[in-house]
């Protein structure tokens, strides 16, 4: 059986968990192609008008998988930490897609809600496993392998690799060494993984910064222990999982005296980000750390992002007397 996984949204967080899980169950995993203009155009055509660009892109990725898979993996992710929930669009994702795109194959839309208890992840995976096999041991084995691979993946992230680099590494590629150049600017780029690590939708933001010789750190690289500590620091946390991650990561990096600035990448029209963005801005202000918001949408024009990011880097360099 061929299982299709769209290469966006939770893909960047969980792919190393899903992949060995399905493969151990004997399925073939097929991932949609890397985001591109055609995919996005397709997504825009198929999505309700008010959605943000990541959701539109998700529809495009689903559409690209239609004829290539027997079953589509599109779980309803509700809570990943037992406290916060994901953005409402994640909660309604399977429904939104089902009523927007015709001719879909069978869908795995099991609900993952860790508010129901720690065993919920096992119940969730077991429930999916039953669709592939009646062999209980086989499912348990798949869960074990998935969790093992996922743990390795997280370790790579904490070493400073981006998810995409870590994926390549887990597939047998060589581990890229994260070298620190002496005196390089250190910028925290915060935002949701599906925007940050998708080179198309971020208009190559991370690549660009590295080309300017900037050391880039992101929320995915912050250790769990630190996230947990910071989750108790704010007077009140946000309702949304990814938004909390972004805010905590920003605060974590602001504790670093060597940090030169923070870039917040946000999708135009993102509701949760109206809060996230303001909180980060205020935190940066209090610490007197340069801050900039880069907003992305369906446009493919690089000029806006290029100008802002280049100016941001330039002005920090001038400030530090590096020019």
């Amino acid at each position: 059986m061929r299982v299709g996984i769209p290469r966006t949204l939770s893909y960047f967080t969980f792919y190393p968990l899903w992949k060995p899980f399905f493969e151990t169950l004997g399925a073939e995993v097929i991932v949609s192609p890397e985001s591109n203009k055609e995919l996005l155009d397709d997504g825009v055509r198929n999505t309700v008008t008010d959605a943000c660009v990541p959701i539109k892109l998700f529809h495009g990725h689903v559409a690209a998988l239609i004829d290539k898979v027997d079953i589509l993996f599109m779980p309803r992710l509700v809570s990943l930490d037992g406290k916060s929930t994901l953005c409402p669009k994640f909660l309604g994702l399977p429904d939104m897609v089902k009523y927007s795109i015709a001719g879909l194959p069978e869908i795995i839309e099991n609900r993952l809600d860790l508010k129901k208890g720690k065993m919920e992840l096992y119940r969730f995976l077991y429930g999916i496993g039953r669709r592939f096999t009646a062999n209980r041991l086989k499912i348990m084995h798949a869960i074990y392998r998935a969790k093992y691979n996922f743990a390795n993946y997280r370790k790579l992230l904490f070493k400073g690799l981006t998810p995409v680099e870590a994926f390549a590494c887990l597939e047998g590629g060589q581990e890229p060494s994260v070298q620190l150049i002496d005196g390089a600017l250190k910028l925290a780029v915060v935002g949701y993984p599906y925007n940050l690590y998708d080179n198309f939708i971020s208009i190559g933001l991370l690549t660009k910064l590295r080309r300017y010789g900037v050391q880039v750190v992101t929320p995915e690289m912050v250790p769990d222990k630190e996230m947990k500590r910071l989750s108790k620091k704010l007077r009140k946390n946000l309702f949304w999982y990814y938004s909390n991650q972004v805010v905590w990561a920003a605060i974590y990096y602001l504790e670093d005296k060597n940090l030169d600035g923070i870039i917040h990448l946000t999708a135009f029209g993102c509701g949760p980000d109206s809060m996230t963005n303001k909180i980060i801005e205020l935190e940066c202000k209090a610490k007197k750390v340069p801050f900039i918001t880069v907003s992305i949408d369906e446009h493919t024009g690089e000029a806006g992002v290029e100008t802002r990011v280049e100016a941001f880097v330039d002005l920090i360099k001038r400030k530090k007397g590096m020019v």
């Binding site: 192609p33 591109n36 203009k37 055609e38 995919l39 198309f200 190559g204 135009f268 801005e281 202000k285 007197k288 340069p290 801050f291 900039i292 918001t293 907003s295 949408d297 000029a303 806006g304 290029e306 100008t307 802002r308 280049e310 100016a311 941001f312 330039d314 002005l315 001038r318 400030k319 020019v323």
Partner: protein
């Protein structure tokens, strides 16, 4: 005399300046881009050549900035190609050394730059919205049949500015039409628009920023006395408009060129002959992958100079060869 050329090609205007070693402006030229960046740069170069003809001036460095900076850089042979925010900040702190706030409103974008002790500490640029930029003022002036040069003076005649929604240029326009049909006098509507634009600028671009004096107001819109008055009213501060407010980006580019050539001791300047060279721009859609990038070719006298627009490196070879 050693001199440096700065070229700023924006959406609405194209500016060229020549400065001397001390950063003093020798020549300043302001032209309308009118959708023809290549032609207007050539025309500007012709005018610069004309102005420096009898003075013993040697161009030792060239800087390009503005939204057409890459294109301009190739045409004139720039030593440095920098974004307009950096250029504006450099120019403002050079001409007004103790400046703390720079308000800049250009044709299609607006920005605020905060400096403390000559160092940029913060800046912001308008996001995706055109409300509160020069081209919107242009458009409204044309609609009301008022020459843009008289727009500001007309606003000053107003005794009772009307309230106009400045958040969005579409709403602002319907608001203005409504007020005009209700019988409000034109100066009141124009003054209302100036207030709205300033309000929008301060709420969006200047959101949460600490605006301290001296405040410098530059960019093409600084020519509009109505906007200046609205800023002074809203901020309660005196607004300083530099002599060369309209060409500050170009001054910054020239200063950056001076910096850039100091190290390498030579310039890439292609000479004033570029004004007569035949530049051709052509484009095509690459079918290599589903991204369908629009690739632009720039050639001079039939020879390919530069190519850009691709997301992958496939078409970049010419550009890399040129820049080393």
């Amino acid at each position: 005399m050693q001199a440096y050329l700065g070229v700023d090609v924006g959406s609405v205007s194209t500016n060229l300046v020549v400065i001397n070693e001390d950063g003093k402006v020798l020549v300043d030229i302001y032209l309308r881009t009118a959708g023809q960046p290549i032609k207007v740069v050539q025309e500007g170069m012709r005018q610069v050549a004309e102005a420096v003809k009898d003075k013993k001036i040697e161009i030792c460095g060239v800087g390009a900035t503005g939204s057409a900076r890459t294109l301009t850089g190739v045409i004139v042979g720039a030593d440095t190609v920098k974004n307009e925010i950096t250029a504006h900040a450099v120019a403002a702190s050079h001409l007004v050394p103790d400046v703390q706030t720079v308000l800049e409103i250009g044709g299609q974008d607006s920005k605020i730059i905060l400096l403390r002790d000559g160092v940029v500490v913060d800046f912001a640029m308008n996001t995706v919205c055109a409300a509160g930029t020069g081209s919107f003022l242009d458009h409204q002036a044309a609609r009301l049949n008022i020459p843009i040069e008289e727009f500001g003076a007309l606003a000053l005649q107003s005794t009772n500015p009307v309230r106009i929604a400045g958040r969005c240029s579409v709403f602002a326009e319907s608001d203005m039409i409504h007020k005009q049909q209700m019988g409000h006098p034109t100066p009141d509507i124009v003054a209302g628009l100036c207030d709205a634009l300033v309000r929008n600028y301060l709420n969006n671009v200047g959101k949460g920023k600490e605006i301290l004096p001296p405040v410098v107001f530059q960019g093409g819109v600084a020519a509009n006395v109505g906007i200046r008055a609205a800023f002074e009213k809203e901020l309660g501060l005196e607004i300083y408009i530099p002599e060369y407010f309209a060409v500050m980006g170009a001054i910054g580019a020239a200063l950056l060129a001076k910096e850039a050539t100091k190290e390498k001791q030579k310039t890439n300047f292609r000479g004033f002959a570029v004004s007569t060279t035949d530049y051709q721009a052509s484009s095509f859609e690459c079918k290599g992958c589903p991204n369908h990038c629009e690739i632009v070719n720039i050639s001079a006298d039939g020879q390919l100079l530069a190519r850009w627009g691709g997301r992958c490196g496939k078409w970049d070879t010419v550009q890399q060869m040129k820049t080393g």
